[in-house]
Structures are given as structure tokens and as C-alpha cells.
């Protein structure tokens, strides 16, 4: 209803339905509309007739009289609005009765606007134009959104399928005697986070956590490329630092300037009670054991992948004895903007983890952490979090 001047919106072909039981009025209104540049005007002579005509060909706007035999305008309003598809159809009510009660009833029955009899042609045409332009704009925007939503929902399901399916998690839990839970939530339909889980040739569990710069469609395109590379890499004699070096070398030529990813890859070495890992600028992993009061941060410095093809990475170890727990996360969790406009930071996240680390169940731990985060502020980046318990 806003008075927008959208020259591109073509309202001349709009179909208008004039509903009035008085023949003279009907023809007068049609004449006014046609002279005003709306050739496509239909007529109905009462409420019943109006509903039938609306079913036949849906109009873009209804000009509705209130007092009519058989079915009055209030009822027509209610019945039109009962159809969800017609919730936004503009209904201009016209009546000679200018009482406040009538207006109140018309609006609450679903009228969009009100014109008073006797009809003032200039005002009528202005209102019709405003409503039609608004309607056309709304339809255009809604059409755009619904097309994109369908398109992105499909892409989103593809992205979810990049992640390890529940069966693979269950298999790893059963085979290795580990427990493991993960959470993945892009900030919009698609995101630049990615994580994966595989076994190397010695049946050790390898975990990847990747976070591409940016979010949305562009970042998702990059996760698909990285996923394709990881699928082609040889995992025998797995060495995290060497693996990162190779990934980086292969990713560098693909990415545009300014695009990069932080990445952490590690292997759960149960024979040596360690998490053996390398990091390309990922957030610092947290590790704790039963009885600990606070988690320990692992060193995660390293150049993000995609920046320098010759980058080298370092292998590091965190002690992971039986009962030990490992918490990995993307910076969407640690760089949360809290409601008092500060960034939470790794230390802030540490405090939250401290509050939840006593939950023995991985799912409950993760839920606890994520709920605490959600209570502090809103996520404006993709969030991935993963907890593993030996």
C-alpha cells in the first residue's frame, strides 16, 4: 500500500472485479476504471456472484460494495480471506454508509481499504493504483523468494549429505569404543563449514573440521571442492601435517584471492592415548579428562589453507587417555556476538564449556553448550561443534 513509483511494474493488465448490486453504480465504476487506464474490468452483481467470478478467474483487486442482497460485502471479505492464497488480495470496500461501525467491521472482516460513496474518481484511481502496484511488487518478491527457497533447499540437502551419515558415526562408535556427537548449522541456507570422519589404514579415526571464509552459496561451493579433494586423497600412513600440506597445495590454485579456509585434522591414536593433529589456523581444540576443572587448549596456530601454496604445517599432540574428551568447534561458536556487543572469544567459550563439561553424555554436553551460546547472542556465522569421548 505504500506509494511506490515502480515504473517497471505493469499494472495496466491487472484484472479488477467490481461488485455492486446497483447496475448504474457498476457501470459507472467500470467506466471510471477503464478511463483511468484499466481495461480489464469484470463485474458481479452480488456476493454469491462475486465469489463465483473470483473462483473462475482470480482478480488482482476487488472493488466491493457492502450492502447487497443474498450475500453482503462483509461476508465476501471473510470468505475471500479464508483462502490462504487470497490473503493479500487487495479488497477496496465502497459504501455510502460512512459510519465508524461499518468501517470497523469492514476492516475486521479483511478489507484492505475503504472508499466512500459517492465515488471520487481521482481518489478511487489513486487507491486502485497504489494497491495494484504494491500487490505486483509483493508478488514479484514472493515469487523470487519461493523460487530461491526451493533451489536452496535442494542445495542444502546436498550439503548435509557431505557430512558423515548417522550410520557412519554409529559404526565408528561401535568399532572404536568411542562416543561422538556433532552439530552443524549454517547461518543461512548454505554455509562454508564442513566436517568429516574416516578411518585410516590402521583403523584409527581421522577427524576433519573445515571453515571456509565467507558464508552462503560461495562458501558452500568451496566446501564441495574441498570435499572432492579429500575424497581423492590417500589416507595410508596418515600424517596430519603432511595431509594439510597436500590439501593446501591442491586447494591454492582453485581459490580466488581472499578466499581461504581454516582447518583442523587429527587422528585419534588410541594406542598412544593421544589426539595427533595439525591445524591451519583453526580455533584451538579443547581437551579434558575426568576430574579436570577446566579444559586445556591445544595449540592451533598455522596458516589457513588457500593462502600460500608452499605453506608447511606442524604435528601436535594432546593427551587423550581413556575417559578423555575432545571438543572441536568452528569460529562461529567462539566469535559469537553477545547481546552486549562484544565477541565471546575462546576464553568466553571455555567458560561455557566449563559449565557443561560434567555432562557425561555427549549429546547433552553439546546441547548445553549450544543453548548457552544461543542465550548469549545470535549466531551470524556457520557453527559446527563436535565432541568426542574416549
Amino acid at each position: 500500500m505504500t506509494g511506490m513509483s515502480f515504473a517497471s511494474v505493469n499494472i495496466r493488465n491487472a484484472r479488477i472485479l467490481v461488485v455492486d448490486d446497483n447496475r448504474v453504480n457498476r457501470h459507472l465504476l467500470v467506466a471510471v476504471l477503464q478511463r483511468g487506464g484499466f481495461p480489464n474490468v469484470g463485474m458481479a452483481e452480488d456476493g454469491i456472484d462475486a465469489l463465483a467470478k473470483i473462483e473462475e478467474v482470480a482478480p488482482d483487486l476487488i472493488l466491493l460494495d457492502l450492502m447487497m442482497p443474498r450475500m453482503d460485502g462483509f461476508e465476501v471479505c471473510r470468505q475471500v480471506r479464508a483462502n490462504p492464497a487470497r490473503r493479500d488480495l487487495p479488497i477496496l470496500v465502497q459504501s455510502s454508509l460512512s459510519s465508524s461501525d461499518d468501517r470497523k467491521h469492514a476492516f475486521s472482516a479483511g478489507a484492505t481499504d475503504f472508499v466512500t460513496k459517492p465515488i471520487n474518481a481521482t481518489e478511487l484511481l489513486s487507491r486502485v493504483r497504489i494497491h495494484l502496484e504494491n500487490q505486483a511488487l509483493l508478488r514479484d518478491l514472493q515469487g523470487y523468494r519461493s523460487r530461491r527457497q526451493t533451489e536452496l533447499a535442494l542445495a542444502r540437502s546436498m550439503q548435509e549429505r557431505l557430512l558423515p551419515p548417522p550410520a557412519r558415526l554409529a559404526q565408528a562408535r561401535a568399532d572404536l569404543g568411542l562416543s561422538l556427537s556433532a552439530h552443524f548449522e549454517p547461518s543461512s541456507e548454505l554455509g562454508g563449514d564442513f566436517w568429516d570422519l574416516r578411518r585410516d589404514d590402521r583403523d584409527r579415526l581421522i577427524v576433519w573440521l573445515v571453515d571456509f571464509s565467507g558464508h552462503g552459496v560461495g562458501a558452500a561451493l568451496n566446501t564441495f571442492r574441498l570435499h572432492a579433494i579429500l575424497r581423492q586423497m590417500d589416507l595410508t600412513n596418515f600424517d596430519p601435517a603432511e595431509h594439510l600440506r597436500e590439501v593446501n597445495e591442491r586447494v591454492c590454485p582453485l581459490l580466488r584471492n581472499g578466499q581461504f579456509a581454516t582447518m583442523l585434522v587429527g587422528v585419534v591414536d588410541q594406542a598412544n592415548d593421544t589426539f595427533h593433529y595439525a591445524s591451519a589456523g583453526a580455533p584451538a581444540p579443547m581437551m579434558w579428562q575426568p576430574g579436570d576443572e577446566t579444559p586445556e587448549f591445544g595449540d592451533s596456530s598455522g596458516l589457513p589453507v588457500g593462502i600460500l601454496a608452499s605453506a608447511r604445517y606442524e604435528n601436535r599432540d594432546l593427551a587423550l587417555p581413556l575417559g578423555g574428551r575432545l571438543f572441536l568447534y568452528s569460529d562461529g561458536a567462539s566469535e559469537l556476538w553477545t547481546s552486549d556487543d562484544t565477541v565471546l572469544g575462546e576464553e568466553g567459550l571455555l567458560e561455557i564449556v566449563q559449565g557443561q563439561m560434567h555432562h557425561p553424555d555427549d549429546n547433552r554436553f553439546l546441547d548445553g553448550v549450544l543453548n548457552s551460546l544461543a542465550a548469549l547472542g545470535s549466531f551470524n556465522d556457520d557453527v559446527t561443534a563436535l565432541v568426542l569421548t574416549r
Binding site: S100, F107, S126, R127, R145, H227, L254, R256
Partner: protein, 411 residues
């Protein structure tokens, strides 16, 4: 953890649609204190939380400039700048062109009402103010504004995301510098024509340079459309370049690409591919196909174009598929045309299998043009005449010409 804008039903129900309007900023412009107080009381009682006042037209424009309201309720008769002037100023400024302005007028004053509409007012409220009418109109305009702003925000965000993705896509395509290098090294000139829709899609072509007098060229066409097809095209691009060490052998190369694709794709996802190696030393185009269009070749001096083979299954269909290699003579003066499936699909033929013949017949006279630039232009315009504006998908045509003259440097 919900997304910034949750992709729920396109239109929220009436209850939830009202959420958000009570936080909207409403500016009440009236020189009479009594009227300001009255309108404000009505709005507050209905739940509106943010109401500002302006005491005349000048004050109104200043307040609107300071903080953009979501709706203005405007009196007409005011000292200094009247309501008409305020309206005129607002509509002349693109920042305020869609700001809802509700003008208060007496019902009987037809002249004022018409003038208000002519100046771009959004709606009129009849004086004396009736509570129900005021609230109904304010609600309708604010709901509409919130809804439209929400949709506009969504569209702006998506367009920026897709624009960025499109740039990434363009970055995958071969550069003019690479064409120049190939032309210098092997005397083969390359041109391409892409009729792009604004959408992202699953079409892609590129060059893999194995060695200096040979280079590989692929053209692929994913099933599906939009972002999901683009996601797959991007990963195919990665796979093709990861397997560059096999690129000298089209049959083996496509076979290996297929094995990787079967691993990566979901059931139903397929890609048609033609991959060939141009060997300018011996003058051949050795290629393998996966459900692609048959290559079209015009030998130097010939009038009729010949068609190559297309016998492989789609890539991604079965890991057991084989992609036999075929050879076309591509000696001096020869011209080669590759095209994606959208081109074949757009041709008005009874059966899609007849499309390559139809295209070869249509393209042959144009391919004989003296220069490749001309050949490319004539083929595309001949195609446009036949296809019209029917194609909705991106059409890609790739033209290769082996220099007719002995020196590869002359052009």
C-alpha cells in the same frame, strides 16, 4: 540456532504477521498539540511502542532525515511548510520514495484529497480521527512495509550471494591469456559463445594443458539447474583438474572421472561430458564422450560437416561404464564445433537424436567463413534464428580452428 531468515511458508499467518509492527517507528506530524496527543494515545493503547512527534513541516523533514520512520501520519494545514509540501519533498527524495505517508483530511474536502494523492500520499485518514480507522490503516501499511522489507532483504542477500558465486564460476573458465598461449604453441584458435541466463547452472568447460603441442578440452553439462547443479559442476571441475595427470588419454581420463563421480554424486545426479585432446603435431582430435552432443567437424575445403561419435553413458551413472576413444582428423584449416545439451535440446527436431545432424547442417555453411570470429558469429546467429528465445538454459558453443597457413603466428 535458527537461520537468520527462516525459510518458512511464504506468507505468515495473520497473527505472526503482526509481530514486528509494534516496534515500528511512527512519526505524528501535527501543529496542534491536542491532535498529537490524541493520535499518540490511540496508537499507544493499541500497542505501538515507538511514536515520535513533529510540530510542523520543517520539524517533520528534520526528524525524518535524522531517523527514518516506518510510517508518517501527516496533517495538511500547518504553518510554514504544510503537509502537501512535506509530501512533495519526501517523494522527490529516493530515500523516502516508499515511506508510507498517511494524510489527515476532512472527508468533504475533495480537492485536498485529490491533491494529496497527486503528491504521492499513500493513504488518507478522515478527520475527525476515528480510532478504528486510524488503527486499521496504520496496521495495514506497517504490516505491508514489514513484509516487503523482509522480502527485499531476502532478495538483496540472495542476489549478493549468487553474484559472488557467479564470479567464482567465471573464475573457473579459461582466460584469454590461455587462448593466446595455445594459439602460439599449437596454432589452434579457440572461441566460445555462451548465452547465459542469470541463473547459476551446471554447465562448464575448460582446458587442461598436458604438454605444449597438445591440450585437453572438456565441456560438461550437469543434470539439474540452479545452485545444486553448480555445486556439482564445481566438484567436477575439481575432479577434472585433480586428474590432470591422466588427461593425455581421453578414454582413461573419462573412465577415472566417472569412478570419482559415482562416488561423489547422489543417485540420479549425472553429468554429460565430452573430453578431447587436440594434438596439433599430428593433426588429430582424440576424444571420448559421456552422453554428450556429437562433435561437428568441417574439414578444410569441404561443404558438408562430419559428425563424430557419442557412445558413452553419462558420467556418474555406473562405475563400470567405459568411454571408448575416437579420433577426428583435425589438420590445417579444419574447424571443430562442440556444444552442450541445451543447444541440442533447443533445436526444433522431432527427436533429440536428430539434433546433431540438424545442427551440423545449420552450422556447416557458417563454419566455412574466412575467419573463426566470423564463423562463430554466423553459427550463433543462425542458431538464434532457429531457436528464437526458446532456450531457458545456458547454451555453450565452443569453436576450434586449426590454422590453415604453415606459420601458426599469422592470423
Amino acid at each position: 540456532m535458527s537461520a537468520v531468515m527462516s525459510p518458512s511458508t511464504p506468507v505468515a499467518d495473520p497473527e505472526t504477521r503482526q509481530i514486528g509492527i509494534f516496534d515500528c517507528l511512527i512519526l505524528v506530524v501535527d501543529d496542534t498539540e491536542f491532535n498529537r496527543t490524541l493520535i499518540t494515545a490511540m496508537l499507544r493503547q493499541a500497542g505501538f511502542l515507538r511514536i515520535q512527534h513533529a510540530v510542523d513541516g520543517i520539524d517533520a523533514l528534520k526528524k525524518i532525515g535524522d531517523e527514518l520512520p516506518d510510517l508518517v501520519i501527516l496533517d495538511i494545514v500547518m504553518p510554514g511548510l504544510d503537509g502537501f509540501e512535506v509530501c512533495r519533498h519526501l517523494r522527490a527524495d529516493p530515500r523516502f520514495s516508499d515511506l508510507p505517508v498517511l494524510v489527515q483530511t476532512a472527508l468533504s474536502n475533495t480537492e485536498d484529497r485529490n491533491k494529496a494523492f497527486q503528491l504521492g500520499t499513500t493513504d488518507l485518514i478522515t478527520k475527525p480521527i476515528d480510532r478504528n480507522e486510524l488503527l486499521a490503516r496504520v496496521r495495514i501499511h506497517l504490516e505491508n512495509r514489514v513484509l516487503i522489507q523482509d522480502l527485499q532483504l531476502y532478495r538483496a542477500r540472495l542476489e549478493s550471494e549468487l553474484g559472488m558465486a557467479r564470479e567464482m564460476y567465471n573464475h573457473l573458465l579459461p582466460t584469454p591469456a590461455l587462448f593466446d598461449q595455445i594459439s602460439r604453441d599449437s596454432g589452434v584458435r579457440i572461441r566460445h559463445h555462451t548465452a547465459v541466463s542469470s541463473e547459476l547452472g551446471g554447465d562448464l568447460w575448460g582446458i587442461i594443458p598436458p604438454s605444449d603441442r597438445r591440450f585437453g578440452l572438456y565441456l560438461l553439462d550437469m543434470t539439474g539447474t540452479g545452485v545444486s547443479a553448480a555445486l556439482n559442476a564445481f566438484r567436477m571441475h575439481t575432479v577434472l583438474h585433480e586428474l590432470a595427470h591422466l588427461a593425455g588419454d581421453p578414454s582413461r581420463f573419462l573412465g577415472e572421472v566417472n569412478v570419482r563421480a559415482v562416488d561423489l554424486f547422489e543417485s540420479g545426479e549425472r553429468v554429460s561430458v565430452i573430453y578431447g585432446v587436440v594434438d596439433s603435431a599430428i593433426g588429430t582430435f582424440t576424444y571420448a564422450t559421456a552422453a554428450s552432443g556429437r562433435p561437428i567437424l568441417l574439414q578444410c575445403g569441404n561443404v558438408v560437416a562430419e559428425l563424430g561419435d557419442s557412445d558413452g553413458a553419462s558420467v556418474g551413472e555406473s562405475a563400470a561404464s567405459a568411454f571408448p576413444a575416437h579420433v577426428l582428423q583435425f589438420g590445417p584449416g579444419a574447424r571443430l564445433l562442440l556444444y552442450n545439451n541445451a543447444v541440442a535440446a533447443a533445436l526444433p527436431v522431432e527427436c533429440i537424436s536428430l539434433a546433431p545432424e540438424a545442427l551440423a547442417e545449420l552450422a556447416a555453411p557458417a563454419l566455412r567463413s574466412p575467419t573463426l570470429v566470423e564463423a562463430c558469429a554466423r553459427v550463433t546467429s543462425a542458431l538464434a534464428r532457429v531457436v528464437g528465445d526458446r532456450p531457458r538454459e545456458d547454451m555453450t558453443l565452443i569453436f576450434l580452428a586449426k590454422d590453415a597457413l604453415p606459420s601458426p603466428r599469422t592470423r
